[in-house]
């Protein structure tokens, strides 16, 4: 039984909230895949914790998107009834977990950005976004600390962990550029002081990455070719599989209360 996708009126502010909500949900979902399967119980706990924070952020952002849109949508409709082409998350966050190094490098790249981004967003003229930012910043600071410590342990641990961490960095690097790009709609929100320009935190993001990877005896790639498309719904093949699992109940049993 198929259920039709919802339609969303993507005004710049709705689209903005959806993009950030999708980032948080998809990354949270990926991390939740580790639950019960992590290398040690402490990491089952930590990765689930981070996943819970991100799913919490997603819920607030979806609810805000629905409120701003002012139609019949809500957090669950936005999460469960949009297909791949309607999802607006970064390509980085939908990349598969891979090994533990790949998961932690993905988290490190994202959290290093999210920490700076949400801290700056606390000054948003939009009170709801400023409040979401204040909560997200606290959580992201912890996520960054957790990921940084692992990057250093893996990079400066054994030959195998070093090689795996370096391979993960080299593999995921091309997905980082998209974090700093904006389209015309978001540019207008930046001019209105509703959101900040993600490009403005890129320098400090790079400093965090350089500091941590140096301590970890790892190298950041020199190539600057970056993959784009997630923000406009042009995803990797991985997202469709994730969504088919995430949305299976709502697609199979339409319109019910759970």
């Amino acid at each position: 039984m198929a259920v039709a996708n919802i339609q969303v009126s993507e005004t710049p502010l709705v689209l903005y909230a959806l993009r950030r909500a999708d980032d948080a949900l998809i990354l949270g979902h990926r991390l939740s895949e580790w639950c019960g399967h992590a290398p040690m119980l402490e990491e089952d706990m930590a990765l689930s914790n981070i996943a819970l924070d991100l799913i919490g952020q997603a819920r607030e952002l979806y609810s805000y998107a629905a409120k701003v849109e002012g139609k019949d949508n809500d957090e669950d409709k936005l999460a469960y009834l949009r297909d791949v082409r309607q999802y607006r998350n970064l390509l980085l966050v939908e990349q598969p977990n891979g090994d533990f190094a790949q998961t932690l490098v993905r988290q490190f790249f994202y959290s290093a950005f999210a920490d700076l981004y949400w801290r700056a967003m606390m000054n948003s003229r939009d009170a709801t976004l400023a409040a979401i930012a204040a909560k997200s910043e606290k959580e992201s600071a912890y996520h960054l600390r957790h990921a940084s410590e692992w990057i250093i342990r893996l990079g400066d641990g054994t030959d195998e962990s070093h090689a795996r961490a370096q391979a993960a960095i080299d593999h995921l690097w091309a997905f980082t550029g998209e974090m700093f790009t904006v389209d015309d709609g978001e540019r207008a929100l930046i001019h209105a002081d509703i959101v900040i320009d993600p490009g403005s935190v890129r320098g400090r993001w790079l400093t965090t990455l350089s500091d941590v990877t140096r301590e970890a005896t790892l190298k950041l790639p020199q190539n600057d070719w970056m993959q784009q498309g997630g923000r406009a719904g042009r995803h990797s093949e991985h997202l469709g599989h994730l969504l088919s699992e995430l949305q299976s109940m709502q697609r199979t049993f339409p319109g019910l209360t759970w």
Binding site: L25, H29, S32, E33, C35, G36, H37, A38, P39, M40, L41, E42, E43, D44, M45, S48, N49, A51, L52, I55, G56, A58, R59, Y62, E75, D76, A79, Y80, D99, F100, I152, R153, L154, D156, G157, T158, E160, S161, R164, E245, L246, S248, M249, Q250, F253, L256, T257, W258
Partner: protein
């Protein structure tokens, strides 16, 4: 939950130990004093508790798998977050219990290795599959409900670290139980399809849940040492009856039928259930349940694939310690 270890006989070797110390130990137990890690205790007491606590810990960890099976498919974001938090709680219980077991002198690594080698047991209930979303409600309602029945008396267990762990674990389990029941309530108030899903889950889980309390008292091989040591305070059948009496009205309230046509209520108000098929229990215990192999394979895979991560963490910690020593020497 998961007190199957209590059903195994323990050789009483106190005769080999100092009789005076043993008498003093029993006097402390009889006076309801708590035994702490550094106190003298009979070797058999230590062995019984190590086995029971570690088996309880393994059950929490293996128990993450059937519920974890639905984290990525939970039907709403609220349910997804609640389920993830619940499974995370189970992991926390496991960690907490391994720490309690370690106070008796065995390391977490040794205990986990014994489980992965198939030498240590975990609760058989987790060898059943979670096929639909209603199974998540049923596990919370019944499996955690049965666990609470078993664990509340353990809050008064004579061994201090285990008793204290149980107090915290019971609080969280009771929250999970209510959450599970609420999932079932929502299904029963929903569509016909949802109600059928709830009934089907109850049909599949009811008998295995009753088996969680262990073999009937008449056939239980367990010696009375656990009772004498105040580790176990109620018999399997007493706890099972308490659970059935509490659960039947809950099922009736949401309109579900207990899959036991022979069930009757006696003059004292107790719900008398039909005979349990202990052949099935023995089969599952022997490794022939529907998911025994899958559960062990999943735990071994996580352990094996995580080996390089644990090695890296240890290597880094050693390097850092060496550097700090070298710096201090300068």
């Amino acid at each position: 939950m998961y007190t199957q270890a209590l059903n195994m006989a323990e050789t009483d070797d106190r005769g080999l130990e100092d009789a005076g110390k043993a008498a003093q130990f029993q006097a402390r137990i009889d006076a309801e004093e708590r035994i702490e890690p550094n106190d003298w205790m009979p070797a058999a007491y230590r062995r019984t508790l190590t086995r029971q606590i570690s088996q309880h810990a393994h059950s929490e960890i293996v128990g993450m798998l059937p519920e974890g099976n639905w984290i990525t498919r939970a039907p709403t974001l609220r349910r997804k977050a609640a389920l993830l938090a619940k499974v995370q709680d189970e992991c926390g219980h496991g960690l907490y219990l391994y720490a309690a077991a370690e106070t008796l002198g065995s390391s977490r690594e040794e205990l986990v290795d014994a489980m992965l080698a198939g030498k240590a047991k975990y609760s058989s209930i987790f060898n059943y599959p979670t096929l639909t979303w209603a199974d998540i409600g049923t596990i919370g309602w019944l499996v955690d409900g049965a666990a609470i029945m078993n664990q509340i008396p353990l809050c008064r267990c004579s061994y201090g670290p285990y008793a204290r762990a149980m107090i915290r674990v019971c609080k969280e389990e009771s929250f999970h139980q209510r959450q599970g029941y609420e999932i079932m309530l929502t299904l029963c108030r929903g569509s016909e399809e949802q109600k059928a899903m709830a009934q089907d889950a109850l049909n599949r889980w009811w008998w295995p849940v009753l088996m969680m309390f262990g073999p009937p008292d008449a056939t239980s091989q367990h010696s009375d040492t656990s009772t004498k040591w105040k580790i176990k305070r109620f018999s399997n059948d007493e706890l099972r009856q308490k659970f059935v009496d509490a659960t039947v009205p809950q099922a009736q309230y949401i309109g579900l039928t207990i899959p036991d046509p022979g069930m009757t209520q006696d003059a004292d108000g107790h719900w008398r259930y039909s005979e349990i098929d202990w052949t099935e229990f023995k089969q599952v215990l022997a490794g022939n349940g529907p998911c025994n192999r899958d559960r062990m394979a999943a735990r071994r895979k996580a352990h094996d694939e995580g080996a390089w991560v644990r090695e890296a963490a240890a290597a880094y910690a050693a390097k850092r310690a060496r550097r700090q020593t070298a710096q201090a020497a300068e």
